[in-house]
Symmetry: C2
Subunit: 170 residues, 2 copies
DNA sequence: TAGATTGTTAATCGATTAACAATC
DNA sequence: TAGATTGTTAATCGATTAACAATC
């Protein structure tokens, strides 16, 4: 269905060891467990969302996280008018308390959902607080120290890829 | 800076033809034009955003589109309470008018920013209206006819990739 | 000419696919 | 045994990198 052939699937699975039975097949319930373990999805990760604007709200309300063991531990914002308001059934907390929130709630991942001009500062504060994994939605390039993993979700890039196919079709 | 070596850059650029001068280098202003042309970014594309919730609002307010020639032609929603309200300085329009909006404003790309349960129907309506490129933010798998390009931006997947690195580090 | 940088061929590397023995 | 499917080796394919002549 996904366009991946059987040889590819077997080859990939073999990197995790042997989990099938020759002549019979794979027990998918066991395979699921093995895959989740190999991908590190066995225990939950706490996530902090920085920025309680539209994007931050959309992310906090996003239903797809919990299925993979992610939990939104906090939504923080610098804007005093936003602090205390409810997003996804949770009160927005002050950005100033980021460090203590990260420490106390064992936050592993930070999501930057702020305007571009503040993205670098947010990243600095996150890394200073000990966060080693950052997902950046701001359309800005961010510098982080070695050992900190950063991924950027770039909406324009997604549109450009679509555009490329539009062009090919005529 | 990006970790790509010079041989790779030259090889890639060579697919577009010769735009540099041996012994001298590349004229970056000319190269920009050539690259934009090759990537099909020379003319603007009209985009319709379906869903005026937090995610739709965030996308409509996203500043990164216009730099690449994308223009939000309309934001539509089924909710009568949202129709008429302003998002990014533009009135939300009824979902029922999708087909005429697409036709009249020459919309090339549709963005699905609705709940998962309605994503398939939205995709059906977009393709029926003649849209050939769809960007799906709903955490749902969508079927589209041949000839329609669909990309899914999956926030959970992005988090999972970060998680994998967390695990490697210990 | 000396130095520098492109464009391109050849060598290397890694990933995908095919084939098949092992096994149920 | 016959049929089926895994695990793994070998073959193929494509992409990256190195090397160097061509050129300014």
């Amino acid at each position: 269905m996904s366009g991946v052939n059987s040889a590819q699937v077997r080859k990939d699975l073999s990197y995790l060891g042997s989990h099938g039975t020759r002549g019979v097949g794979y027990r998918i319930d066991e395979l699921r467990v093995q895959l989740r373990r190999a991908l590190g999805l066995t225990h939950g990760y706490a996530v902090v969302i920085v920025g309680a604007g539209n994007l931050g709200s959309a992310l906090a309300n996003y239903g797809g996280f919990s299925a993979w063991g992610f939990e939104v531990a906090a939504v923080v914002d610098v804007d005093r008018n936003k602090v205390g308001t409810e997003i996804a059934g949770r009160a927005v907390e002050p950005f100033a308390e980021l460090a203590s929130i990260v420490a106390e709630r064992n936050v592993a991942i930070g999501i930057i959902a702020t305007p571009s001009w503040s993205a670098q500062e947010v990243a600095d504060r996150l890394t200073a607080a000990g966060v080693r994994s950052i997902l950046n939605f701001a359309p800005a390039t961010i510098e982080v120290p070695d050992g900190v993993e950063i991924r950027r979700v770039d909406l324009s890039t997604e549109l450009q890829i679509l555009t490329y196919h539009l062009q090919q079709e005529g």
